[in-house]
């Protein structure tokens, strides 16, 4: 072939491949191949036998590569379930439960981790049509003054009512004020009926608007989220 010696696999290695290899016609091989890749027309290459030979080598390789790609099964017999199982075995040894939140009355010693409570709240919120729940954080209510004198250990909330902050994505057909109220009501109900947790306040942030197909909007999202957040009302219970 028209290429210079030096890159042959028998006995030599990839390290011997020069990057500035020049064809007999004076063109750099790298340049000829790159032009072919970008589809840039070149009057010289079109009529040059050395360039043609170099291009033949590239095309021939590409034909085998295409064949190799075609030979890949569309759906590998991957055991995705087994892989996920192995991944989750490790993950469950390294859980991030979040803070530990009080259940029940102030004098009880019952607790629930934030991750479990958040999952309950998200599920409750998603029972509303066209509503998806994202971030859900639960903290001590800063306005609660009836705290016991002893400070709780790090990561454990004081035994007072909690404050929930949840981000939701809602369908375009929802009235934002109405959906915020509905979300708040579902969380308060779930906190009482499913957990037994005292909730003082629920902050609802409408983080995104979804079209009918469930896709988030694009431009203007941030602005909508801002407006929604401004429209957010704070519902305090009892």
């Amino acid at each position: 072939m028209a290429m210079n010696e030096g890159g042959a696999p028998g006995g030599t290695s990839y390290e011997d491949v020069p990057e500035d290899e020049v064809l007999s016609c004076g063109r750099e091989l790298a340049q000829v191949w790159e032009q072919a890749e970008t589809g840039e027309p070149d009057p010289h290459t079109a009529g040059c036998p050395h360039c043609a030979e170099a291009l033949r080598a590239l095309r021939s390789l590409e034909a085998v590569v295409a064949r190799a790609r075609d030979d890949e099964p569309q759906e590998r017999p991957w055991d995705t379930a087994a892989l996920a199982g192995r991944v989750m075995d490790v993950v469950r040894l390294e859980l991030r439960p979040g803070r530990t939140l009080p259940l029940g009355e102030a004098d009880e010693d019952a607790w629930i981790v934030e991750a479990a409570a958040a999952r309950t709240f998200r599920a409750a919120v998603e029972s509303l049509p066209g509503v998806r729940a994202g971030s859900c954080r639960i903290e001590a209510d800063p306005q609660d003054t009836g705290r016991p004198a002893s400070a709780p250990p790090v990561g454990w909330l004081p035994r007072g009512p909690a404050r929930v902050r949840i981000e939701v994505q809602v369908g375009l057909s929802w009235n934002l004020q109405l959906v915020a109220d509905e979300v708040r009501a579902r969380i308060v109900a779930a906190a009482d009926r499913e957990l037994g947790m005292r909730v003082a306040a629920v902050d609802v942030v409408i983080a995104d608007l979804l079209d009918d197909a469930g896709n988030a909007g694009n431009a203007g999202n941030a602005e909508n989220a801002e407006n929604a957040e401004n429209a957010d009302t704070e519902g305090r219970q009892g």
């Binding site: 009880e108 990561g155 499913e194 957990l195 037994g196």
Partner: protein, 120 residues
Amino acid sequence: MTEQQAPRALADVVGTAVLATPGVAFLRPGLAELLRSSVGLGAGRGTSGAAGASGVRVERRKGAQGLDIEVYVVLSRGHRALDVTRAVRSAVVAALEESTPGSTPRSASARVKVTVTGVV
């Protein structure tokens, strides 16, 4: 020896009682360790939660009569978490009474902390 074995045996009693409580799916030992470390309990302070009762810790209260018991449970969906934790506490107290008939009830001075670490 008995000083160390006794809490371990008690942990088994407690663990069995917890698992028999309706609404409890299983005990989650890994997370229990994590939460304990965030409470500041050193790893060296008693290893009573071993052998079949992981997710349960039983400790004698220092300088006083009584037991400190910690239970870490994963609940089954469809049960009110607070109600299950109350049932767990009752079951633990009852199991401690039963395990020591005749002697001073250890349950009388047992503190039972129940933490829900998950819902499945």
